[in-house]
Structure formats: structure tokens, C-alpha cells
């Protein structure tokens, strides 16, 4: 009891949520909302809706940069390690070939680069998108993993009459006010 009373109240934000049956409605509503300077909190869709990132005005993701540099790191690490073992730590004379014969080191360097780039990109994606085992999904409406398209406007739009109007105009079948953890 005591702990419950002392704990700070969880920060909640108020969202206005519109549920659509068609991606066309969702896309148009997201565009209209941004045209009227209404903040778009997020959208929830059963599949990757083409053009949704532009409609929501999302910035470009920096994951390709992560991918490139992790691949480069993998390449450099594998090359350095192979050269170190072949030339300094335990040089071996294989058929009189030079110790630092680069062509022989290409396959392992390439594979390590691909491995590190792939795994690091996916890991970075999981961290950035806040996906991990045990995390409970954000659930603003039923059916977003089935056949519903949801547009959440907010924060601070619930008092704005334009917000409800935008959702209604573009064919939202259900409009609700929801409190969500940010």
C-alpha cells in the first residue's frame, strides 16, 4: 500500500485514435493531419503500408550507417586477425607463398564482414524499435495485426476539434480517446 502511494504516477499522454478499414483512409488522414500541423503520434498497420513513412513525415533511418560501419569493422577485424596470425604470431610456410598473401584472406574477411553487418543491423533495429522478449506491445486498438489500420494523433490534440474532424472525414470507423504510456 505504502509503496503504491509513494510511487510517482506513471506519465500518460492523451491520444486521439482513429481506426480505419483501408490503408487509403489511413494514408489520407495522416497526410491531412500533417497539413494541418496536427502531431502524428504513430500509425499501426497489419503490413508495411507503402508511402506511410512519407505521409507520417518520418525522418530517414540511420540503420544503413550502422550496417556500413559494422561491416567495415568486421572486415578490418578479420583481416587484421588473419594477418597477425599469419605473419607475426605463428608464421607458417605454406608452399613457399608469402606470409601476407592477401587473396587467401579474402573469403574469411568477407564472411566476417557480412556476419557482423547483418547481426549488428538487426540488433540495432531491435534496440531502436524497442523490440525485445517480454516487452508487451503497444495496443491502442484491436486487430492491428489482422486487418485494422490505426492512426494515433497526439500528444495534446484531444481538445482540438480539427483532429477528430480529420479522422472522421477520411473514413475512420471508430474514434476514441486513449491514454498511453509515452
Amino acid at each position: 500500500m505504502m509503496a503504491e502511494r509513494l510511487a510517482p504516477p506513471p506519465r500518460r499522454i492523451k491520444l486521439l485514435v482513429g481506426v480505419f478499414e483501408q490503408e487509403t483512409g489511413l494514408l489520407a488522414a495522416a497526410r491531412a493531419a500533417r497539413e494541418q500541423n496536427l502531431p502524428v503520434y504513430d500509425a499501426y498497420t497489419p503490413y508495411a503500408v507503402h508511402g506511410l513513412d512519407a505521409a507520417m513525415g518520418l525522418p530517414r533511418t540511420r540503420l544503413p550507417t550502422v550496417c556500413f560501419f559494422c561491416g567495415l569493422a568486421g572486415l578490418a577485424a578479420a583481416l587484421a586477425f588473419q594477418l597477425w596470425t599469419a605473419t607475426s604470431n605463428w608464421p607458417m610456410n605454406v608452399g613457399g607463398k608469402p606470409f601476407h598473401s592477401l587473396p587467401a584472406l579474402v573469403p574469411v574477411s568477407f564472411e566476417t564482414a557480412v556476419l557482423l553487418a547483418s547481426l549488428a543491423t538487426v540488433l540495432a533495429f531491435f534496440l531502436r524499435a524497442r523490440l525485445w522478449p517480454g516487452r508487451s506491445p503497444v495496443s491502442l486498438a484491436n486487430g492491428v495485426t489482422d486487418d485494422r489500420f490505426v492512426l494515433a494523433l497526439g500528444p495534446a490534440v484531444t481538445f482540438d476539434p480539427r483532429a477528430g474532424e480529420v479522422l472522421r472525414q477520411h473514413g475512420a470507423v471508430e474514434i476514441r480517446e486513449i491514454e498511453a504510456a509515452p
Binding site: 483501408q22 507503402h50 508511402g51 573469403p107 553487418a117 523490440l131 489482422d146 486487418d147
Partner: protein
């Protein structure tokens, strides 16, 4: 951009002023029967929510029995030694390495479908990519078994990894193609598994959201990592998917290239050729596509997915089989031409012996199955008939297995020293181990059909018409 409802009814217009892709497509729809989004979820997920039919149990038990046979024989082989196999000092690689190359090759079609066709924007891949990627994973697992047991002392298998040890440290030989294999195949398996799991996330979330609270829901909750279909996540997800496809494409080429280096860097006549990397990669994709056909023809029938894996999909796969068959044929001809043109007596002998020597029958099977049989696929009637495609796909699988057997055994059994010439025949242990690898493959595949959405529902939804039809008209603003 102003859009009027009357226009929308004819060709919907996106923000950029272009009609969306599906409205312009001259092709028939990718899914039969005008499915709705919800129907797709229902069709894909509901087989996981009920008990499977007798066909599934029969298939699963048969596969598990074959797998058990493999386990028993591998245990016997490890317990007694490699002497239980028919290998000898001349033919040191037999069925074991044949099976290894065969299984690795099967895997390659999965990556072709999931990564390369994705980069080429071939949207028909959505129906088959999940199952084809699963096939890749299971095939690579089967492939991995063979070098492991071929080592003879598999309990020391960790010696293939460069870890600090108290033997110097004595590092692995980074110039050996066999070590490149270790890196290529472990990378291939890990990247394929990651790619597969990434694609699975949205569908795992679909299953989760249909579960009643309980153990099943908890498992899917953990596995789906809290996926909520957020637009921000989808945008990043698509970027990551594209990046992984871009990485997996050169990876799949590198893997079979490196497998072919196992042979090409040696000085054995019949192996020591520069054509091997493209020849092997193409052969791998050829055999893998045949296996995809085999699996899809059965799965669409058993799981009742005919509306998703349509005859148009089988047609598209068959065209790829035909193309790769022609490239493989060209490679066979090139090899023979180069053997003659090189004027190298050893090379000439190797190829004459391959076609007319003691293993000429194997060569004949290879040519019949890989060159002659696929020519039937020039006919559309055959390409769209599952009943005719099924035996063809089985024959191609057989032919591609014999291709590896021919390359490995006929090149080894007549080496430079006639006194060491020898023949090779497998023992029951080798045959049973091969049967066991099929058992492992199909056991995994049956479990996959039962516990994981077999079709990428979230990708199928992206190619449907439902969800894109203009809803209640938006007034001009």
C-alpha cells in the same frame, strides 16, 4: 494533389500523383479468390490453432523414424570409426561430401527467393518465401552434419574455430578452403536464421493477438518481441529487410563459391577448373528450386494453400528451374570442351572416364535428369500442372545429387597413379545416414508447418487489393 472520388474508382492516385503499383499491374492478382485481409490471417494462422490431420501425423512419424535411423547409424559410425563407410585411400570423399554439397545447394534457392527476388521486386515470392527460407535453414543443418561426422573425431569439432588455445596458440589455417567453408556456412546459417526470424515477427504478433491468455500466448508474446505494427517500426523494418537482402545476396554466391573452392583449389583432374564457382552456384540454385517445387506442391495440397501458392507461382518457379538447367547444361558442355581444348591428357582422360568409365551410368542419370527432363518445362501446360511438375522436381533432385556424386567420385577413383585406382560403393551406414538427413530435414519441415505461420501473411496482405480500395470518399481539402 486533389483526388475526386470518381477518379479513385478507376485508378486510385497516391500522393505523388502516381497510381499505386497494383492498379497498373498487367499481371493477374497474386492471390486467388479476392481474399480480404482478415481472411488471410485466418487462412494462415488457423492451421496452427487446430490439431493437424492424419496426413501430417503420418508424414511427421515417417520423417522422425528416418531421422532416428540416421541418429542410430551416426552413433554407430562415431562409436566404431569411419571404417564403417565404404571410403578407401583413393576415394576419400564419397557419399558424405556428396550429401554435404547436395544439402548446401538445396539451401541456396531459399535465399534466392527471399533475398534476390526481393531485390528484383518479384512480388510473387511472398507466397513461397517463408517456406523456402525455412527450407534453407533445415538444409544447411543437414549439410552441417556431414563434414562434422566426416571428421572422424567429431568431439574435437571445435578445433575448426580460431580460439586461443594452449597448443602454441596454434591457429587454424586461414588459407585452407575447408576453413573458408566453416566461416561461410556458419555465417550463412546465422544470417539466414536472422533474416527468417525478422520476416516472421509481424506474423508471430498476429498469432499472439489471436491467442487466449495462457502458455501459448506467453510463448508467442516472447517470440514476437512486443511487435505492435507501429508505422515507425515498419519503416525501419523495411530498411533492415532491404539491407539484409542486399547482404544475403553476395553471401549466397560466396557460400557455394567457397564450397566449389574445396574442389577447384586441388590439383585433381576434373576438379581443378575455374568454371567451378559459377557452375556450382547455378547448380545449387537449380537443385534448390526443384526442392522448393517438391515441397510447395505437397504443402499447398496438404495445408490447403492453393489460393496462395497458385499454379502461376509454380509456373514462375518452373521458369527459373528451366533457366538454371540451361546454364548447368552449358557448364557441362564447357567442361568437356575445355578438357579437349586444354590438350592435357589427364584432364581429357578424367572426362572420358566420367562419361564412359565404370561410373558412366551415374553420368547418364545426371544428364538425363538435369539436361533432358527440364526441357519439358518449355511447355506451359507442364509448368502449370502440379501432377506433372512433382515427378519432374523429384527427378531433378535426383539428378543434382548424382551430379555431385559424379564430380566427386569419378574424379577421385582414377588418380595419377594407376596402381592406386579403385572403385567405391557406399555401405548401409552411408545410405542410412543419407536417409537420416532427409528424416532430419522433413521432421523440421513438418514441425515448421505446424508451429509457425507457413506463409508470410503480412507480406501477402501487402499485395492484396483489399485494404487499398477507396473507402468512404474523402472530401477535397
Amino acid at each position: 494533389m486533389e483526388t475526386r472520388p470518381s477518379e479513385l474508382a478507376v485508378a486510385p492516385v497516391e500522393a505523388g500523383g502516381h497510381p499505386p503499383e497494383w492498379a497498373l499491374s498487367p499481371h493477374p492478382p497474386l492471390v486467388d479468390g479476392e481474399k480480404s485481409l482478415h481472411q488471410v490471417t485466418e487462412d494462415v494462422v488457423s492451421p496452427l490453432e487446430r490439431f493437424p490431420g492424419p496426413a501430417w501425423y503420418a508424414g511427421f512419424l515417417l520423417s522422425a523414424a528416418a531421422f532416428l535411423l540416421g541418429v542410430i547409424l551416426v552413433t554407430h559410425e562415431i562409436w566404431t570409426g569411419i571404417g564403417t563407410w565404404g571410403l578407401n585411400t583413393t576415394v576419400g570423399w564419397g557419399w558424405d561430401i556428396t550429401n554435404f554439397v547436395f544439402w548446401i545447394g538445396i539451401g541456396h534457392a531459399g535465399t534466392l527467393i527471399s533475398a534476390i527476388l526481393f531485390l528484383f521486386r518479384q512480388r510473387w515470392r511472398t507466397a513461397v518465401n517463408r517456406a523456402a527460407e525455412a527450407m534453407t535453414l533445415f538444409a544447411v543443418m543437414c549439410a552441417g552434419v556431414f563434414p562434422l561426422i566426416h571428421m572422424g573425431r567429431p568431439w574435437l569439432a571445435y578445433w575448426v574455430f580460431p580460439y586461443p588455445n594452449h597448443r602454441g596458440p596454434l591457429w587454424v589455417n586461414f588459407r585452407s578452403p575447408l576453413l573458408w567453408d566453416v566461416f561461410a556456412i556458419s555465417t550463412y546459417f546465422l544470417v539466414s536464421a536472422t533474416f527468417w526470424y525478422l520476416g516472421l515477427l509481424p506474423d508471430l504478433a498476429s498469432v499472439r493477438d489471436r491467442c487466449k491468455p495462457g502458455l501459448r500466448r506467453t510463448i508467442f508474446q516472447l517470440a514476437s518481441l512486443g511487435w505492435s505494427g507501429s508505422g515507425r517500426t515498419w519503416a525501419r523494418y523495411e530498411t533492415v529487410y532491404l539491407l539484409l537482402a542486399g547482404l544475403a545476396t553476395p553471401l549466397v554466391f560466396s557460400v557455394h563459391t567457397i564450397v566449389s573452392f574445396d574442389f577447384a583449389t586441388s590439383i585433381v583432374p576434373g576438379w581443378h577448373t575455374t568454371i567451378f564457382p559459377p557452375y556450382f552456384v547455378c547448380g545449387a540454385i537449380f537443385s534448390g528450386l526443384a526442392m522448393v517445387l517438391t515441397l510447395m506442391i505437397v504443402a499447398r495440397k496438404v495445408m490447403r494453400f492453393e489460393a496462395y501458392i497458385t499454379t502461376r507461382h509454380l509456373d514462375a518457379l518452373s521458369r527459373l528451374v528451366l533457366l538454371t538447367s540451361c546454364i548447368v547444361t552449358l557448364a557441362y558442355l564447357t567442361e568437356f570442351f575445355m578438357a579437349w581444348y586444354s590438350a592435357n591428357p589427364y584432364e581429357r582422360f578424367a572426362f572420358l572416364n566420367r562419361a564412359a568409365g565404370p561410373y558412366g551410368w551415374a553420368f547418364a542419370i545426371m544428364i538425363a535428369c538435369n539436361v533432358a527432363v527440364p526441357q519439358l518445362l518449355w511447355f506451359r501446360g507442364i509448368r502449370t500442372s502440379p501432377a506433372l511438375l512433382f515427378p519432374i522436381s523429384i527427378l531433378i533432385n535426383l539428378g543434382m545429387w548424382f551430379e555431385r556424386f559424379v564430380i566427386i567420385t569419378t574424379s577421385l577413383h582414377r588418380d595419377y597413379l594407376p596402381s592406386s585406382w579403385s572403385l567405391y560403393a557406399p555401405t548401409y551406414v552411408e545410405v542410412g545416414t543419407f536417409v537420416g538427413s532427409f528424416g532430419l530435414f522433413f521432421t523440421c519441415f513438418f514441425l515448421f508447418c505446424r508451429f509457425v505461420p507457413m506463409i508470410a501473411a503480412s507480406e501477402i496482405k501487402g499485395v492484396l487489393h483489399d485494404g487499398r480500395t477507396p473507402g468512404p470518399a474523402a472530401p477535397p481539402h
